[in-house]
Amino acid sequence: MMLDGLYQEIILDHYKNPHGRGLRDPFDGEAHHVNPTCGDEITVRVKSDLTDISYDGLGCSISQASASVLYELVQGKSPAAASAIHHAFVELMQSRGQVEPDEEVLGDGIAFAGVAKFPARVKCALLPWMAFKDAAARAGVDVGVSPEVKA
């Protein structure tokens, strides 16, 4: 079935057993993002040294798994490393499936390569990453300029 590319085991695992979920104190920046077409919501909190990233939200398997992967990849990283990961993930999602993801950088995030082929779902995968970027900015952490989001 075509869906094999979308619903990878890794994504379903993160959806059913999310890592780092739940809003925690203390934090230095918070952002709440919604996807107005589907009503999905996420709140992300960031500590300025990135030692904790916490989140909570309502949404589909793609957006919720994406938040879990974000937590795993970025929590505890330096701003420069976080920025590189953020850039690589956004670029992958914009690729329409034309970019080969680097597992060294993206870890479980490579499972989202299949999502890039479903334009209606790219926004779901990006929702936590865009909220993270805003929350980080509010915590004084610049994760850099992302590729233009066209989804």
Binding site: M2, L3, Y7, C38, G39, D40, G59, S61, R121, C124
Partner: protein
Amino acid sequence: MSLDVERIRKDFPIFEREVNGHPLVYLDSANTSQKPVQVLDVMRAHQERYNGNVSRSVHTLGTESTEAYEGARARIATFIGAASPDEVVFTKNSTEAINLAAYSLGQMLRLGPGDEVVISEMEHHSNLVPWQLLCERTGATLKWFGITDDGRLDESALDDLVSERTKIVSLVHMSNVLGTVNDVSRIAARSKAVGALLMLDCSQSVPHLPISVGSLGADLIAFTGHKMLGPTGIGVLWGRFDLLSQMPPFLAGGSMIETVTMGGTTFAAPPARFEAGTPPITEAIGLGAAVDYLTGLGMEAIHEHEQAITRYALDALSSVPDVRIFGPATIEGRGGTVSFGVDGVHPHDVGQILDALGVEVRVGHHCARPVCSRFSVPAMTRASFYLYTTTAEIDALARGLDQVRKVFG
């Protein structure tokens, strides 16, 4: 007389196609309906043979175009039981029709602080946001009917909600999410008693039910062409002529004027007063052809078919484990739109897996976020039916839901 659905489906070329390697199962007619060749042919023929601008040309093509455009208006008027074609105003869609009404009624009634507008929690955003904006502009107060647990309009506070302060009541006739068909007779009587105008959003009811504006009890109704076998870009505002004739214009420009001087303008009588600029001519003619098609089959027969399909769907969905239906559980007072949830699976994921099987449903908040909030869910999955829907398609939906449960089990 029952519908020959297999024969009807042959009129819709789209049913010949496959989606993701499966025969198309189209269960999203509340979103937009499919179009029969009879509508497509009329629109193409008009563009190829008769195209001219309406209401302003003395030449033959302009005259023929005007006759076709006004002919469509007259047939649509008959279809909804209007007293005259002059009660039918062409708009872009229901949304524009409601915005027209909100703007114009606000002016006409000199709405202000102390006045009240009453809607419901069941509204599509198109019959909610225009009234919110009107109240924000004028200082009037917005109030609303709630929804009962079984998905009906909660009329228990009717006499408090609709009072001498109420100037406008605007309600959905059939919910685009819950499928509820609102019996508005009590609200219509109360509105009339307190001198409030009643508008109905009939976007989901005119395509599916026999409607006669004479017996609805409303002063204005809105509906849209693309949900009733017609094209996009054409909708209708119907209003009692004596009301329309008191309402000031909404959009201004060509065709809606009587006399223009540099010092001021007087306006044409309805419906022209509300149709500024070159209208969607081909689309109006297409909607006329759609109405001919529906009339040919008979709205009673269409409604009966949809009741049978809906009963079948409610049974089928109730027998799928982990499925929760939102809205009335039986076919009494409901139409062929069924929203549901699958425990533990987000509607986006339900819709995605169904699409992989060729089953097209709508997922999300359906432009009616307060309805989802009322039932404490961020989104729902919705299957909606029409005259071409078969029980085999409902079976495909039920099989698809088994697949959903397998992937997320």
